[in-house]
């Protein structure tokens, strides 16, 4: 079977988790500007920090746990997108990351500002070549 592929290139799969499939041990990587330390998740042409404008970047690992800085429980989305889901902004030790909150009930009683979360993966499905794709989100730390 082919190696699984991550949903985006900044998700790095480190192998099967202790709990077995479908959980993978994983972490996120950022493109860090060599000049000013600004972090980005997309392919870069240059640094957007006007004070810097550097063009050298290095891949750096992002902390796999963090704190929810903002969230919304999205109940209405474009056709084909299952709802409800929790969209969130997570502060991973100084690096802000966008991701869904997963393995938690999507309601205001179970999701709160400041809650501690950690990176988690889930299967997206298998393509015609039998390759599995893996998504990520953040789950409550105290599960």
């Amino acid at each position: 079977m082919a190696n699984p592929v991550p949903i985006v290139d900044y998700l790095v799969l480190d192998g099967p988790g202790e709990g077995g499939v479908p959980q993978y041990r994983a972490h996120l990587v950022a493109n860090e500007c060599a000049g000013c330390g600004a972090r980005y998740f997309d392919r870069r042409n240059a640094c957007a920090n006007a004070e810097c404008a550097g063009t050298d970047f290095a891949k750096v690992p992002v902390a796999t746990s963090g704190e929810v800085k903002a969230f919304s429980i999205v109940a209405f989305a474009a056709p084909g997108i299952p709802v409800p889901f929790v969209a969130a902004l997570v502060d991973c030790e100084g690096t802000s990351v966008r991701g869904n909150l997963i393995n938690v009930d999507p309601d205001p009683e179970h999701v709160s500002l400041g809650m501690k979360v950690r990176l988690a993966t889930y299967p997206l499905g298998t393509d015609s070549a039998g390759t599995e794709a893996v998504g990520f989100g953040f789950e409550p730390l105290s599960n």
């Binding site: 985006v8 920090n49 969230f71 919304s72 969209a87 991701g99 500002l113 998504g135 990520f136």
Partner: protein, 402 residues
């Protein structure tokens, strides 16, 4: 020669916002443009520049299409697009041409047909590809909307309001609902608003949930509409009739900003810094402080957005937006009335028209022509819009001294 006598609004109008099934984009733009020209007491042949915005029409050059209906005079046309700040960008383009001394009169128009458009931003999710193939700047093998956060505006702006709550505390679902309650209450006095119905806090909180904590009645209303303004140089204004001079409104500040880079700004849009930067520049240009404002029209695309802009526009002390709202300051009988038009949540948000319509609202009060919803003796007002991406327009307007 740059024009040193300032730039004034000579005429301005907005169509009713709502459903206009019998009119197309050009009809609505023509209604607004001809209305503004009539209000100004000038003609298309007097205009030296036309700036026009229509964000979602998909057509080519709404400015030229408009000229073909109301007057092809050979003047330069700038078709502009800047998300929800498109109207303010069109106005600012006309203002810059007059300020630069290129012409004495300019016309700015914003128009949108959005009735029934539903949820904006966020594309339908197609079936995943046959084989996982990385694409785009994130090397994504599948659609990320709904899998890695949300692309929808109600969800993005919900997070923006929640982030403010995380930083300063004091926010709640009910607080955001009460902001919407205020704007819907204000809308009952505005005959041009798409919705003119008052709602109770319970009704708002129990309305259809779109993206917690924003229910449907806490979201801006998609609708059709247009707005247009005629601007004139200060030196030309002095040659016009006393009546034109009396009704002219001074543009004391016209500012457009984008967001400077900060940590996280490419992860969740930061609508705060560029608004604060625009406000700082505008107050400095106008020589006016937030405490001098008699009314403010700010970009309440969602109830969660209105709260953060109290702070960003420095209507309250930093971190004090919740207390400021709780004090009643932003109701129409408060110390700083905000969105007495009903705001985008009830007046409606035909995107490219919004950034001129909010200026029309302020001018209407400064001219003493706002009827039942007139803010007594209004002398100074501020209009703010923000388009995600991002662009922020702030205009400070003053009543004529004549």
């Amino acid at each position: 020669m740059p024009n040193a006598d300032g730039v004034w609004i000579l005429g301005i109008t907005m169509t009713r916002f709502g459903k206009h099934p019998d009119k197309d984009v050009v009809d609505l733009a023509a209604d607004a443009a001809l209305g503004a020209l009539g209000d100004a007491g000038v003609k298309m042949k007097d205009m030296g520049v036309l700036a026009a915005g229509n964000l979602l029409g998909g057509g080519l050059g709404v400015g030229q299409q408009l000229q073909k209906q109301i007057g092809q005079t050979g003047i330069p046309v700038y078709n502009v697009a800047n998300a929800c700040a498109t109207g303010a960008t069109a106005l600012r383009t006309a203002v810059m041409a007059v300020k630069a001394g290129e012409c004495d009169f300019g016309l700015a128009v914003g128009v949108e047909k959005l009735a029934g458009a539903g949820l904006l931003a966020g594309k339908d999710r197609k079936a995943d590809a046959d084989t996982w193939t990385p694409q785009g700047r994130y090397g994504a093998v599948a659609s990320v909307d709904g899998r890695i956060g949300t692309e929808t505006m109600p969800g993005v702006f919900a997070q923006i309001g929640m982030e403010y709550g995380h930083r300063y505390g004091g926010t709640s679902f009910e607080l955001f609902a009460r902001i919407a309650e205020k704007n819907h209450a204000h809308s009952t006095l505005n005959p041009l608003a798409a919705y003119q119905k008052r709602f109770t806090v319970d009704e708002i909180m129990n309305d259809v949930m779109i993206a917690y904590p924003n229910t449907r009645s806490m979201c801006s209303a998609n609708c059709d509409g247009a707005a247009a303004a005629v601007v004139v140089s200060g030196s030309k204004l002095k040659t016009l009739s006393l009546e034109q001079q009396r009704r002219a409104v001074k543009i004391s500040a016209s500012v457009l900003t984008t967001d400077p880079w900060e940590e996280a700004c490419q992860v969740l849009p930061n609508v705060n810094t560029l608004t604060r930067n625009a406000a700082v520049q505008a107050y400095e240009q106008a020589g006016i402080g937030p405490e001098d404002l008699d009314l403010v029209e700010l970009h309440d695309c969602f109830a969660t957005a209105e709260l953060v802009h109290y702070d960003n526009l420095m209507l309250c002390k930093e971190g004090g937006a919740v207390d400021f709202f709780e004090s009643g300051a932003t109701w129409r009988d408060g110390t700083t009335p905000v969105n007495v038009s009903g705001g985008l949540e009830s007046k409606g948000h035909p995107i490219a028209a919004t950034g001129i319509a909010n200026i029309w609202e302020v001018c209407h009060h400064l001219r003493g022509e706002a009827g039942d919803r007139q803010i007594d003796n209004a002398k100074v007002g501020l209009a703010h819009v923000i388009g995600l991406g991002s662009a922020c327009g702030v205009h400070v307007l003053e009543r004529a001294a004549v």
